[in-house]
Symmetry: D2
Subunit: 311 residues, 4 copies
């Protein structure tokens, strides 16, 4: 099963579960994978920025990928392989593709500046990993400091056939989706899947602008699935009602640094992760922050049954 | 009336009203100033980043400041004087202080990197404008790319007596407020006013962490005033209820680039500005974006009477 | 006299002479202007990055420009007008052009990233100052963090007729000159003047690659004039011999921060400036650095008579 | 043999020799190692920024380190282990230390901004690799965009005992050396080795300011050895004469991007490398650049016998 430009729905960005001592928690990996299947996720992305990938060594990364792939053979699994050099990127790609991954995700190194540099980087990366490996283009200027105009994305899509999906997380980004979909309509760019990240902060409008779904790690991925579905069903107000109920917490989780701690904390409270632990170095959550999240969950419980554990 | 560390409440960041042809709309300046007075604003900040200050020449800047000061003599008026050199910064400061401004606001140039560079910059700036002029330290890494740790802010506050207020808009920033208030409690830093910017995205929790209020330009500054007041009265749930009702629109407006267009558009719809025009170069709002804002306003109207014009 | 694409030779980047108390030293301005004329400079650029322009207020800037223009009516005078906003940029441009300037120089704000942003910025700037005003495009990534590919420069030159000169100071930059000259040969770009900055560090090869001369502030601009002349006369070895004799000092002066202090110190020793003073804030030269410059001058004196004052 | 703060002399930064097809050229590794021994190098650094480390996979990196260590058992070998995560950094460190490396070199990730972030990063890195592993602190703002003040370096040295050497390549950097040596004299910092990089562009004065030698990859490392020796012998003019003879070529090689191609080209011409090839992606040298290097070598041959092959 290979990732294609027809991907849609929700590909949660999976955190990597650890025990408090830093060991990988394989039982939680299975539980989390099962959870994604149960909520109607159409794929899953692992070892991304918020999967603490840089804290894993090569063997661990491969083992986690293999476990998720085995556990959910019906689910396309995308693996983050971003690396400072093409040699380790290729090495990891080869191993996870052999293990059954559907494709890989590549973020740009934050030293890229000009349009030319960006396009060339992805050409070289695609050649390095093998032009038969489908890849996801990650467009996240807030974190990577690399600005890709719609024109640059069009060049990448046009010049590199193995680019099949955009992880859209530019900010602001609504017009970008409209522009890219316009390129497709006017025939100047082939269609690609556009799934949205950036914590989901604009998912309500992104799907209305033409995005195919979500590719982010909010602690209620089931809400993301519902919003994508409600939008597809034309139930605009219902989609916004649900989204707005989650927005105070979603906004809180979207904070860089502390966000992953919030995400793991809630997933632990939901019974999916055994521990909220991160591997060192850790951006921990203060007691005040924990109380704020508890308060937000309690408020959410009034509007979404799935948060009733916090009521 | 000079700005002091006792400032609190809401200092809206005022946009600069223009006619469609780019001329300054003085009638709207008066109307906007009156509006701020009517909602209980405790001050106002003009010629900031979102006041299109770089599009104004020196004489225009001085004239706008003078008009607002005359119109609201009971309101402390803070004037943005950030500039690439100390000579124009001093020139503008002197003129607006002579005209009756309460103080000035200084953002860091985006070339500052080390703690030492940041502290020295503010020492030099304070000396340049005159150590008798109270100033607001603007801490907005997302826009200015300058990271100030709490320790650096403490050094600035300690070494420069004329620094009386922090425009807090670091992101994430809740722990920063707690840390700074902790410095005050443990006696290692004198008390300063902390008013929060960043579009108000975390105002609900910022006031709970010890901030004195808001210093931002959301198109419903009256909501900001209410949230600050409700928090002061201990009405936590009510404060959050009101804040959450606005959060979908507030989040939309907080987008860089398009945010100012949204703000001016809503202020025009509210009857405060004659036109939503910006001076060139303009980051315009698409039709799709306008329809999205209209939809958000309509939804807001169900929960806040002040948006009923959009129902 | 307007600046055109036929400019060539050496346009020294003039420092701004101050007395020790920070007052402008007008006698030194005249002496420096006379000196530039006497050595065969074909133009002069004032109020640039190293002219301490941000430390001057508007009136001072205009006065300095007017003085140089009056003193050397036969010399095209280019004035740096870079500013964070188009309003002050236009205001200064209008005044200095009225006073007889030949053109202006515009550096990019360091927030520009994509090709699109860069081209649009220059279009807006050209429109703001008036499309009849010839301008110099400053390409200095090391200082401004803006990367312009040859393709972007071609777009600017093609889309903006009033761009007549490139101040080339990319690093590395030799291939860029070759590429741009190639564009001219293949007819895809009209010819522009290319004068080289970056302290002159590669002037020996830049003129061989097709640059028209130098536009930098090395403390021996007479050497720059000679190197450009010797190259034009086909005396390659002599050009390099002279250049190499100066390279140890030139390299020392090219250091950011301390470089301006070195430049003013040597110009003072050469009798051109009364004082080496800078306006505050100052990047001063230590005693050790001064001794090093003295040593370099002494060594230079053995190979170039013009440094014999240091022997 | 462990690296200590007593290191001095010249640790060349070794390139990684490849054949034209990208395979590692082990014969050239031996020849290069022997060459370093023959010229009096006191150590060697491998797998650094210009050693094309990101193009090597883990096994290749370990094999190269092991080969150099075996070939020169009397020479301390420092291995670059910079990585985006601590897991791969630790993995490589452990293997090369087991193989007999003397220590490792760690560059800062370019996302670090505040003093606090920098110090914390090195604390975490030192803990990750093991506090018994001596490491070299690489201070190269031009490439890594991380600014370390002397005060930050003092904190790192003071708080992390395993930091034994500074690879000094700040620019400008002479005052920094003086400041750090001043800290040692006033007792506020323990002594560390300071070896200078940045292509050697200021080595002539750096050793006079108190640096212990060079840690860079100029294609005539024998010249670096001589300059360090002549300075130690008090032969100032001779040191500068030799340095100045090389400066035109050294400056040419110090250009980012093209520099490595120049270095490998000259080392090939000197008979040390079989090929000047780099692994993809390659920053190639144009024909014009090659002719310029040939010309510089020819000129150098008149002043240094070691370049006579080019005469």
């Amino acid at each position: 099963m290979r990732l294609t430009a027809d991907a849609r729905g929700v590909y949660p960005i999976a955190p990597t579960p650890f025990f408090d001592d830093g060991a990988i928690d394989t039982a939680s990996i299975d539980r989390m994978t099962d959870f994604y299947l149960s909520i109607g996720a159409t794929g899953v992305t692992i070892l991304g920025q918020l999967g603490e990938a840089p804290k894993l060594d090569h063997a661990e990364s491969v083992a986690i990928a293999a476990q998720v792939i085995r556990r959910a053979p019906q689910l396309p699994v995308v693996v983050g392989v971003s690396a400072p050099g093409f040699a380790p990127m290729r090495a990891l790609t080869r191993e996870v593709m052999d293990a059954g991954a559907a494709g890989v995700m590549i973020a740009p190194p934050n030293t890229l500046r000009t349009d030319e540099q960006i396009v060339n980087y992805y050409k070289q990366a695609a050649e390095s990993i093998g032009t038969d490996v489908p890849f996801v283009l990650q467009d996240y200027p807030l974190t990577f400091s690399v600005l890709m105009t719609p024109g640059v994305i069009r060049r990448i899509v046009t010049e590199i056939p193995s680019c099949v999906m955009l992880k859209h997380e530019d900010w602001p980004g609504l017009e970008k989706i409209s522009t890219l979909r316009g390129y497709e309509r006017d025939g100047s760019m082939r269609r690609i899947a556009i799934l949205c990240g950036n914590g989901g902060l604009f998912l309500d409008f992104e799907v209305e602008r033409g995005a195919d779904g979500a590719n982010t790690g909010y602690c209620f991925p089931d809400m993301l699935c519902d919003v994508v579905r409600l939008n597809a069903e034309g139930k605009r107000d219902e989609a916004h009602d649900l989204f707005d109920a989650h927005l105070p917490l979603l906004r809180y989780e979207q904070q860089p640094g502390v966000g992953l701690a919030v995400r793991k904390y809630v997933l632990m409270k939901r019974g999916i992760l055994t521990s909220a632990a991160q591997r060192k170095p850790v951006a921990a959550m203060s007691k005040a922050a924990q109380a704020e999240v508890d308060y937000l969950l309690k408020r959410l419980a009034k509007r979404d049954q799935r948060a009733k554990f916090a009521a």
